[in-house]
Each structure stands twice: as structure tokens, then as C-alpha cells.
Assembly symmetry: C2
Homo-oligomer: 136 residues x 2
């Protein structure tokens, strides 16, 4: 049964990488590298910024973390590994996860159009979040 995967223990990580991974996992939001650094520092005060970046790259390549970027100059990191999409509020900047079931289909169509061998699709919605759509 495809139960939604819980945070599994990952073994064989260096202390630095573990600190980075746990910092992302404990975060409710989608932290920037800088926010990850601050959080990782609480676990491992000696960690450097460069190591945070190295770890993020490593974890990303290992599929444990995902990088997302919008037009706001700093990349953000996301603990979810299952495929999903993002909505970003143009008023307050809030970032929300959601998943569209039809993306498998979409992947095929997009790949044909672009003449690419598909690996993944990602969809970004811009608009107003529930809070911001109230006040004009």
C-alpha cells in the first residue's frame, strides 16, 4: 500500500550533511540556503556556509532534497522528495505545495513539443493565496 512516506532515517551521512538534512526536514517552510545555515548551526556550530552549499548539492543529487527557484534571487530547498508542484503568492510571497495528478500525461506532451527526452516536469502557479485574496 502506497502510504505517504514518513521521514526515514538516512544512514551513512557525515555529521554536516545530517545536520543540513535534518534542518530542512524540521522546517515547516521552504528555507533558503541562508536559513538552512542558521538552523544547521544550532546542531553543529562549527559548520561553514560552504559546507552547507556542498551538502545541499550532495543531498539534491541523492534525491533527499529538492531545489526550487523563483525570481527572488535565492534558491529555496524542500524536504519533500515525492514529485509535486508549487504555488507562489504574488502578494505576500507565500509558497504552497500541491500535486496535480495529470502531470504524468503532461510530461509526455511537453516532451513531445520540446523534442526532449523527458526526465521531470514542474509546474508553478502564480496568484493570490487564500489570505491575500480577501484584501484588495
Amino acid at each position: 500500500m502506497a502510504r505517504h512516506r514518513q521521514q526515514e532515517e538516512v544512514s551513512g551521512l557525515t555529521p554536516q550533511r545530517r545536520a543540513v538534512l535534518e534542518s530542512i526536514r524540521e522546517s515547516e517552510a521552504h528555507p533558503t540556503a541562508s536559513e538552512v545555515y542558521a538552523a544547521a548551526r544550532e546542531r553543529l556550530p562549527s559548520i561553514s556556509f560552504a559546507t552547507v552549499y556542498n551538502s545541499l548539492r550532495y543531498l539534491k543529487e541523492a534525491g533527499l532534497v529538492r531545489e526550487i527557484s523563483f525570481g527572488d534571487s535565492a534558491s529555496r530547498y524542500d524536504r519533500e522528495t515525492d514529485r509535486h508542484d508549487h504555488a507562489i503568492c504574488t502578494s505576500c510571497g507565500k509558497l504552497v505545495d500541491f500535486d496535480l495528478p495529470q502531470t504524468a500525461e503532461l510530461l509526455r506532451i511537453a516532451a513531445r513539443k520540446a523534442r526532449f527526452k523527458a526526465e521531470s516536469v514542474h509546474l508553478t502557479l502564480r496568484g493570490l493565496c487564500p489570505d491575500c485574496r480577501q484584501e484588495p
Copy 2:
């Protein structure tokens, strides 16, 4: 008849903004701010980096230019104003434009899922471009 719009003349821009806009329009690719700066400098040698950024923001808000960002640290700018999607090659990094007709539909579905008031959707495909799918 909805012919594809050619580069229309835009009047009322400052020389700096015009230089930035023309630099983007003449570029075949999707230049970074830094590349735009280099090109704008050929037209207007006194222009500063900060002004390029200011101009990019202005042009973006005026809808004459679009900002796109992936996980590669520097935002890129796109002359196309008509809505379209992007495919990025995971091997060589090439960026290709394409348009999916079903995105209007998608916008509605995504907005419902995310509970947002929709403004726009954008889709990014990752995979191998025609050149890179040859060599393994």
C-alpha cells in the same frame, strides 16, 4: 488575425532602459543580468550594473521582458512576452522555449488545487535535448 507579434518599437524609455531592452531582444539565448550588462555597455558604455538591474525590474513590470530562474544561481531574461514554457537540458544546460496549448485549462485546475486566485502558470521540463540524447 493573431499573427505572432514582431518586435514593436517602444517609445518613452530612457536611453538606459532602451539599451537593456534592445540587448535582450537582440540576444538569441536567454541572457543573465551579467550578459545583458555586457551587451548594454556596447550601446551605452556609461551604464552601470545597478541600472541594468533597475531597468530589468522596470521592463519586467511593464511586461516587456520576462524573468526566468532555475537552480543555476543567476536569473535569466527572456524577450518573449507571450506566455510560454521552458525545457532545460540536464546535460548541456540548453534552454528551449515551447508552448503548451492546454495551459489555460491547467491554470484552472492548479488554482483549484492550491486554493489560489490564479494569475499565471508556468511549466518547466527537465530532460535531454535532441543533441544530448544521442551520446550516452
